[in-house]
Amino acid sequence: MGRVPGAQMTPPSEVPDRSPDRAGWDADTALERLYAAHWRRLVRLSVLLVHDVGTAEEIVQDAFVAVHARSSKLRDPDLALAYLRQAVVNRSRSALRHRAVVRRQAAREAPPPTAPASDEPSLAAARREAVLRALRELPIRQREVLALRYYLDLSEAEIAETLGISRGAVKSHASRGSATLRTLLDVHWEDRS
């Protein structure tokens, strides 16, 4: 699918007639603004959910492609961002379901290399890895709620909207999830290196 490499190198400034289809409004420019503002943060959000940068990049790319097709959302940056968040969370969830399968298969063939490598990583790197691993231990919903609450700093109402669940459910996922996480991260809890 990736044809015309580099053919669209126009800078993300005003490009009035690149997309003449919808009443003169330029979806591509809107998309570029969204990208500039949210690409990295959304990839990181997805990494918290799927624990893999390559997968996260693909997921967020897909989400941007999807929002581009929805000009009603694209016209309003807030709606667009809400849609992107939702798409990233949903697609991360699907990717996890697919991947759980692959991972178990791999685990059967070779023992999982969970032990830290001999060249001791820095304490900070170990802690990062521990946090990502701990998140992975949580049920998907709890992990999603925690990522939205503590990484994106969303309100309960926004999380409920994003996940399509009630605020009560958000609350209970958050409290159970953070309790578990705190236990799992025991040793890293106070380590401030």
Binding site: V4, D28, W39, V60, Q61, N90, H98, V101, P139, Y150
Partner: protein
């Protein structure tokens, strides 16, 4: 080392989570995204969406005809043998003139009792695919008509299970390569569809997948493959030619029947318009629903604003999903652009019965 910070666990969690991904620097993908959004307009995946005139109409006609075939199947009660292609319901519309692809291919499949897909060259087929989507009552199956190239109808069913749904609100848990194929032994409702898992990796329910989700996923396979062969044949999951005792942790040693529609299906699904369809002048929406008093409210929204709304009436309600079809909806008064068509189940104010469920399609009004 000790820090008073742990007295504020929320702040510490926020810090730990941000820190955990602070070293993630994703590759710049703007060019890739630009390329992909450019191509999407005329993409080979759904090339008819933005095409004009005749092509759109032709596709819609095929989909409608098949939709009726599918709905006829849906109407047959679960244990009543319903010969494919022959409705036992007098009330059925006389649209039974099925397009060749659906009725022709079911016998094909039954002719090949045991082995791999026959030598029939792949051709484009449209089949009813069921995908998981969220509802107020947890994950449920939504129906979408998908077009794939496949040698026979059953192969088409297996293919659509493993491909992304057109509607981004849906998902499928079956990754490409989950299944190695399927065969139909016998015919009609007495037949058995054997669907072969590629390997044993799908035996257990992955951590993080709810039991409910796993059951829906298994029923997704049952409903989709039954739809493909146009018969309520039982579905046997196999591995290396033998029945497998469980799939995603759901017991599967015996051939599985379809679970009652009210338990596994989203109670409203839109058949037409399709996701991304272009409409102009007047169009007719249709689908299936089980909604209070057979009322199926619909809306057309631009953003969050409802610009048109109405009701259609399904052919029945309570025990299962029934077909509904709107009166022609006049969109000639709407400015051209993108809208969302929404069909809902009616929410009875007393709170009895079914909660509201919703299906949506993005449409382009021209």
């Amino acid at each position: 080392m000790t820090d008073p910070r742990h007295s504020d666990p929320d702040a510490r969690l926020a810090e730990l989570l941000s820190d955990a991904v602070s070293d993630v620097e994703p590759r710049d993908s703007l060019d890739t995204i630009r390329d992909r959004t450019k191509v999407t307009r005329m993409s080979s995946r759904r090339p008819w969406i933005y095409a004009v005139g005749g092509a759109v109409v032709a596709t819609a006609a095929v989909v409608t005809a098949i939709a009726f075939a599918g709905d006829r199947l849906g109407l047959a009660s679960t244990d009543e043998p319903a010969p494919a292609g022959q409705s036992s319901r007098g009330s059925e519309p006389s649209r039974a003139a099925d397009p060749s692809e659906s009725t022709d291919s079911a016998p094909d499949a039954s002719d090949a009792p045991s082995d791999a897909p026959s030598e029939t060259p792949a051709q484009s087929r449209t089949v009813a695919a069921y995908y998981l989507g969220d509802t107020p009552q947890g994950p449920r199956l939504y129906r979408e008509f998908a077009r794939v190239d496949a040698a026979d109808a059953l192969a088409a069913g297996v293919a659509v299970l493993q491909q992304d749904p057109a509607d981004p609100d849906y998902e499928t848990p079956w990754a490409a390569g989950s299944f190695s194929g399927a065969t139909l032994e016998g015919s009609g409702a007495d037949g058995i569809i054997k669907v072969a898992l590629a390997d044993e990796s799908l035996h257990d329910r992955p951590s993080g997948m709810s039991e409910e989700y796993a059951q829906e996923a298994v029923q997704q396979v049952v409903y989709t493959l039954q739809g493909a062969v146009q018969a309520r044949a039982a579905v046997q999951f196999t591995l290396n030619g033998n029945p497998i005792d469980q799939v995603l942790g759901v017991p599967t040693s015996e051939p599985l029947a379809n679970a009652p529609q009210n338990d596994v299906l989203a109670l409203v699904s839109i058949t037409a318009p399709e996701e991304g369809a272009g409409v102009s002048g007047r169009f007719t929406a249709s689908g299936v629903a089980n909604s209070n008093e057979a009322n199926v409210p619909w809306q057309i929204k631009r953003g969050d604003e409802v610009v048109l709304s109405g009701f259609s009436t399904a052919e029945g309600w309570i025990d299962k999903l029934y077909p509904w079809q709107s009166e022609p909806i006049d969109v000639s008064g709407l400015a051209s652009g993108e809208y969302t068509f929404v069909a809902m189940t009616d929410d009875p104010s007393g709170g009895e019965g079914f909660g509201p469920m919703v299906d949506t399609r993005t449409i382009a009004v021209r």
